[in-house]
């Protein structure tokens, strides 16, 4: 057990804790705050794995943009943003399903035992960008097409049209 292990354990606990709180708190604005915290903790986990660029991206896209989008959604759709929003009861099926996933992945994780910590290498952003725009360029094109569909459709859906 060294320093990295302790850091990982603490961050993992924080990730699960913030995610759980985001789903369980009563006020929607608090949900957004907790989920923003969750995104920041994940970014820290990526820094721990030496995935610097991913960490920065996580902070920018998730902790920044997605959080603002969600907050915006809450503010536009709720007249009183601090209104209590009753959560429905915890369904037994969903708990069973969630438990099943935990058990399944837990069992797979258990099979790995203590292997895998051999060494983590940091990659320069230059290397990553060469892979992303070179070998995996088509992926980016596909994401671009998805964004085109989203942009055109979303604008049409919310604009006050000439009808």
């Amino acid at each position: 057990m060294n320093l990295v292990d302790i850091a990982f354990l603490l961050l993992a606990a924080a990730a699960v804790g913030t995610a759980l709180l985001a789903l369980l708190v009563r006020e929607l604005v608090h949900t957004i705050l907790w989920v923003a915290g969750f995104f920041v903790v994940l970014a820290a986990l990526y820094f721990l794995a030496e995935a610097t660029f991913l960490g920065v991206l996580q902070l920018g896209v998730y902790a920044g943009a997605v959080t603002i989008l969600l907050l915006f959604g809450v503010m536009v759709t709720r007249r009183s943003i601090f209104r209590r929003d009753a959560a429905t009861g915890i369904g037994p099926t969903s708990v069973a399903l969630a438990a099943l996933v935990v058990l399944l992945l837990g069992a797979v994780a258990w099979r790995f035992g203590g292997t895998g910590a051999a060494g983590v290498t940091a990659y320069a952003p230059a290397q990553l960008s060469q892979a992303l725009f070179g070998t995996y360029g088509p992926w980016l094109l596909l994401v671009g097409l998805a964004m085109l569909a989203a942009l055109a459709g979303a604008i049409y859906l919310v604009r006050e049209g000439r009808e």
Binding site: G113, W139, A152, G153, Y156
Partner: protein, 519 residues
């Protein structure tokens, strides 16, 4: 640098994208007629279709041959993200057929309805996503292409933006779609961990040793669950009925006839392809895994066809009944994944092709009938076949085809599929038995609709089906777009029901190639 060869290979996709962009530009140009937007979309679809058919070797289109995918059925390297198989090209043709029928019929939607350009643009983008699914050779490429289709289809469902029912359907569709995507990406992440790559040329070719093998099995499980939502397998099917019911009927036709089929091709790529075939059933962990995968998929198939059919028996609304029938048909198609031999794959592809014509055709008749003032209930169709003979005959043909009655394409597709399942021997024979029993069961509810249409008379004074609201559309209130789309589908159903020969040969040779492609 832009590689002209690659541009040529993707000529059909580029044509669709160009059509989309042109539509979005025209949208800003002011009030234009719906027919113009429809014509742009149809031109793009027909152009793409001509190139795909030329690549498949259809004689009279030979001059176009050089434009498209030059190399078909050639193995691609482990680093390639895409590759062209003849089965993939056939599926591209199937997707374009569905898009063509829907685009043609949608011309007859009310001309004062807003957003025609966006509707057609999204339709082309959804089709483009499906076309890319058909050439995927990489897990992430495959899932991203499916996502393009998914995002475009959420927005297609929401396209009547003043209709709360459509937006609710879109919201439900969106949640299920996002859940399905999350499960699929999670599965892909585990497979990447197990195999060290996202290439479909490596994933599934063997089962890694030790803990990584368990990881791979878990990954395949999550991926199967994610894709099961996509193709409405029981128990991941509940959303489909509400979405098909709430969406504009043309979009329901596209979802049932088009986007769902892209999910099936994704299943073929991951679970049949050249991939898991390498794992022969038998001894060892790989063989055990293959055996239990076959069994799981077979159980899903039987559950899907049975639940879909039984629930369809109890439906009183036409669109919901067709939605349940669509779920049960997914069960038949899944037999191709469970059995995973070349003939079964050809049969499943034929069944998918037949279902595009039959289900899209049936939904389009429902759209036309709604335009003529027929209500949503099955009982609103009393006397429809007598008052609107041509439309009644077309609807009758589609229903008989879905039931698998001879002289329709539905008979041959089921015959080919079930006989391939029987040929595979072993316990697979029971799958064919389940399929035949289910087909017999489905005759009950298709027959009930036919009886309502022809044998029952509407209650006096109500006016009955088809004479309520007089529509201003051409061709006796039907609209020429709808009439043409329904007519084309009906003619194909009968023509291919009499002689499916050339098509069947193409499916069989493509399926054989697919199983050896890149292995």
């Amino acid at each position: 640098m832009i590689d002209t060869e690659v541009l040529g290979q993707f000529a059909p996709e580029i044509l669709l994208l160009a059509g989309t962009l042109l539509l979005f530009v025209l949208d800003r140009a002011g009030a234009l007629r719906r027919e113009l937007f429809g014509a742009v979309a149809l031109a793009a679809i027909l152009g793409a279709g001509a190139i795909v058919l030329a690549d498949l070797g259809v004689g009279f289109l030979a001059p176009l041959r050089g434009i498209g995918a030059a190399v078909v059925d050639q193995p691609v390297g482990a680093s390639a993200l895409y590759g062209f198989s003849s089965l993939g090209l056939l599926f591209q043709g199937i997707f374009l057929l569905a898009a063509f029928l829907v685009a043609l019929a949608a011309v007859s939607r009310p001309s004062d309805e807003p957003g025609a350009a966006v509707f057609y643009g999204l339709l082309l983008l959804a089709t483009l996503g499906m076309m890319l699914v058909a050439v995927a050779a990489d897990l992430i490429f495959l899932l991203l292409a499916l996502e393009i289709t998914a995002i475009a289809s959420y927005l297609l469902v929401a396209s009547p933006r003043r209709d709360p029912r459509a937006l609710e359907a879109a919201m439900k569709f969106y949640i299920i779609g996002a859940l399905s995507a999350a499960l699929s990406f999670f599965g892909a992440s585990l497979l990447y961990g197990a195999y060290g790559t996202t290439s479909l040329r490596v994933v599934g070719h063997s089962l890694p040793a030790g803990a990584y093998g368990d990881l791979a099995i878990a990954g395949f499980g999550f991926l199967l669950a994610g894709l099961a939502f996509e193709v409405t397998l029981v128990p991941f099917h509940m959303w489909a009925v509400d979405v098909y019911d709430g969406a504009p009927t043309e979009v329901s036709a596209f979802l049932a006839g088009g986007t769902k089929k892209a999910g099936f091709f994704a299943l073929f790529l991951v679970f049949v392809g050249p991939l898991l075939l390498v794992l022969a059933p038998g001894t060892g962990p790989a063989g055990t895994f293959r055996g239990s995968l076959d069994l799981t998929v077979a159980l899903l198939a039987v559950a899907t066809m049975t639940v879909g059919n039984v629930l369809a028996l109890f439906q009183s609304e036409m669109k919901r009944l067709l939605a349940y029938s669509s779920i049960s048909q997914a069960g038949y198609m899944l037999l191709g994944v469970a059995v995973a031999t070349a003939p079964a794959l050809a049969g499943a592809t034929f069944q998918i092709f037949a279902h595009v014509l039959l289900k899209a055709g049936a939904f389009l008749v429902v759209a036309a009938a709604a335009g003529l003032g027929v209500g949503p209930l099955v009982s609103d169709w009393k006397g429809f076949g007598i008052r609107r003979p041509a439309l009644g005959v077309a609807f009758g043909l589609f229903l008989l085809g879905l039931a698998g009655i001879p002289l329709t394409v539905g008979f041959f597709s089921k015959f080919v599929l079930f006989s391939a399942v029987v040929e595979a021997r072993g316990w697979f024979v029971w799958l064919a038995v389940a399929g035949v029993l289910n087909s017999a069961l489905s005759v009950f509810y298709y027959g009930r609709i036919l009886r309502t249409m022809y044998m029952e008379t509407p209650p006096a004074g109500s006016g009955g089906a088809g004479v309520g609201a007089r529509s201003s559309l051409a061709w006796d209130g039907l609209g020429y777009g709808r009439a043409a789309a329904i007519g084309i589908a009906a003619v194909l159903v009968v023509a291919l029901g009499i002689d499916p020969g050339p098509l069947l040969t193409a499916f069989q040779s493509a399926a054989t190639h697919f199983l050896t492609f890149g292995a």
